[in-house]
Amino acid sequence: MKHLASHGSLRRSLRLRLLAGTLFWIAASIIAAGWGLGNLFQRHVEAQFLAELKTHLDQLTAQLTLDEKGRPMLALPLSDPRLSHPYSGCYWQVDEIRDSAPAASGLLRSRSLWDDVLTAPPDTPVNGEIHQHRIVGPKGKVLGMIERSVRIDDTPDGKPRSFRLIAAADEALMSAPVARFSGALWLALGVLGIGLVVAALVQVFVGLAPLRKLHAALGKVRSGETPQLDGDFPAEIMPLVDEFNTVLAQNAEVVERARTQAGNLAHALKTSLSVLANAANANISASPQQNELARLVIDQVGTARKQVDYHLTRAQAAATTRMPGTRTPLLPVIDGLVRAMQRIHAERALELRVVPMPETLAFRGDAHDLQEMLGNLLDNACKWAAQRIDVSAGTEGGKLHIFIDDDGAGLAAEQRDAVIQRGVRADEQVPGSGLGLAIVDDLARLYGGELTLEGSPLGGMRSALTLPAPLR
């Protein structure tokens, strides 16, 4: 389970993926570089070591001669001072070969060998060839050694003699610099690696910062704070932001167009209904008897009007409740409706009071739907109030609560639910019961809220509307 989860998070997190990838490549490159450079240096040091041995061997070859008694000797001492310093690690030795087999080891030796004699493996290189061996030398040190055979024809007794010339050096002379170099190399690579890891971390966090910003901007759209993704984004993300904004705008445009068309249809229908109703009314006035048709027309026009209103409101709300990024400040809507109510109910000299509320109160949803709900509730309150109507609002637990109180006669508790007619379809409504509250309840439910009717502290009815508030 734990493994699965961590695997999943690696797959899902862009940051972890980038970091894991970068760290892997940093580690791989540093190891490869360290190994490669170390090898290269070692080979270089080895070559130098051999070249040095070869120089000693060549000098030895050049200086080897026989004295008048036929003993081998050097015409001049070899130049490297290490060869005369005891146990310095650099040695040479001359053995005599008789009958193609080594004999008389240590005929001539470097001073550095002191009392020791190099014991070379049995080998007789063909004249001119150089052979290489590893041997154990003085004080148990491992030595790298090269040898060649030399034949001297010009001897005092005229018999040609063969010698085995050996140059050797302690391998520590070679491995010490390699070890020192490796130490320095890995230290430098380690510092480089740490630097790269820090740079990668910074790059991932800085590089992914626009994504975090995008996330925040999307959150704002969802909570309804902004209708579009706002802010500057890098060129790689901007096309995504632009596309998203275009989709949002198109979405809003489609909804708006559908609304307008539904509105136009309703307008056209209702104008015709008006003509029908007026004609029927005129007919009834002209001949109060024998006009069942006219009464039927008036009746049906009323029903048709309610149907159009009901379904138009529902269709508009259904289109907008799913729209992201809609947020409607409450106070301007209430103020506008109160102005309208004061005009429309000017006859009644009502006292409409908006209890002071924070200007930040807002509804997560469409302005038209909020106006529709509050408009119907306020209109009802204005119709039934004796004189006074109070509007108050607040938020609690992510919900917006709006209360509309009046000082009218109110409703008995058992009547309240019947007035709202929960879940009853428009065409099943009792004629004349008024769809206002049913529409409010319906809209509220589409938004996941609700409408309840209660007794008001003012003495009449309280309409309590609960709606979603913006996320932040």
């Binding site: 109703a277 007026n278 005129a282 009007r305 409706l337 005009r343 000017a346």
Partner: protein
């Protein structure tokens, strides 16, 4: 009382004109926003019935232009667009009332009466002046409870004078408020209506203010 109807649906316009005419209003009609705006801007109406979905210029724009140029006559919006956001927009553009289609003619008439009364500052549907009472709900005038028989034009003159009780009303004002625009106007006929009204009313109720016009008053 003179009313302007701006409505583009011809049948409905005719029904409105007939209904308002039957209630003794002088009625002008316009079938589009531009004509409607022009009439409302140049003629002195006592009230306007305005549709919102008008060709050429929509009703809200017409209303805003009137209010911007200082026309204060009461405007009742009559529209099928009955969303509250539309009502609020209409009221904020300067409308005084809002009625949605389909509507009952009686309700329209009641709202118009109320609007006109409110505009001139009367609280009740009945306006009295001494023994004379005008009931705007049924276009009836009574003197000491006795009903008066009035022609449509006589009623319009009397209603206008009653609404502007105690004010001096010029003859041309009367002409403008009792005739529709297309009517063949003759200010001399106003004198004829005044003379007839004086015969039917208690003496001294309608004063002639020389050089200015007429005044309906119980003040002396």
């Amino acid at each position: 009382m003179r009313i302007l109807i701006v409505e583009d649906e011809p049948t409905l316009q005719a029904q409105l004109a007939e209904g308002l005419g039957a209630a003794a209003y002088a009625v002008d009609t316009a079938g589009n926003g531009i004509d409607g705006h022009y009439l409302g801007d140049t003629e002195p109406y006592d009230a306007v019935v305005l549709d919102l979905g008008l060709p050429q210029m929509d009703g809200i724009t017409v209303l805003r232009k009137w209010r911007a140029s200082g026309r204060t006559m009461p405007v009742l919006i009559l529209t099928a667009r009955d969303g509250w956001h539309e009502k609020v927009a209409g009221i904020d553009a300067g409308a005084d009332d809002y009625l949605t289609k389909p509507f009952h003619m009686e309700e329209l008439l009641a709202r118009l009466r109320a609007l006109i009364r409110r505009t001139v500052g009367h609280a009740s549907a009945e306006i009295s002046c001494g023994p004379l009472t005008l009931d705007t709900r049924n276009s009836r005038a009574t003197v000491d409870g006795q009903s008066l028989t009035l022609t449509s034009h006589e009623y319009r003159v009397l209603a206008y004078l009653m609404h502007h009780r105690d004010e001096v009303i010029s003859r041309s004002d009367l002409v403008e408020h009792i005739y529709a625009q297309d009517f063949d106007r003759d200010s001399n006929t106003v004198e004829v209506f005044i003379a007839r009204l004086r015969k039917k009313l208690p003496p001294g109720l309608i004063e002639t203010v020389r050089g200015l016009g007429y005044r309906l008053t119980t003040l002396q």
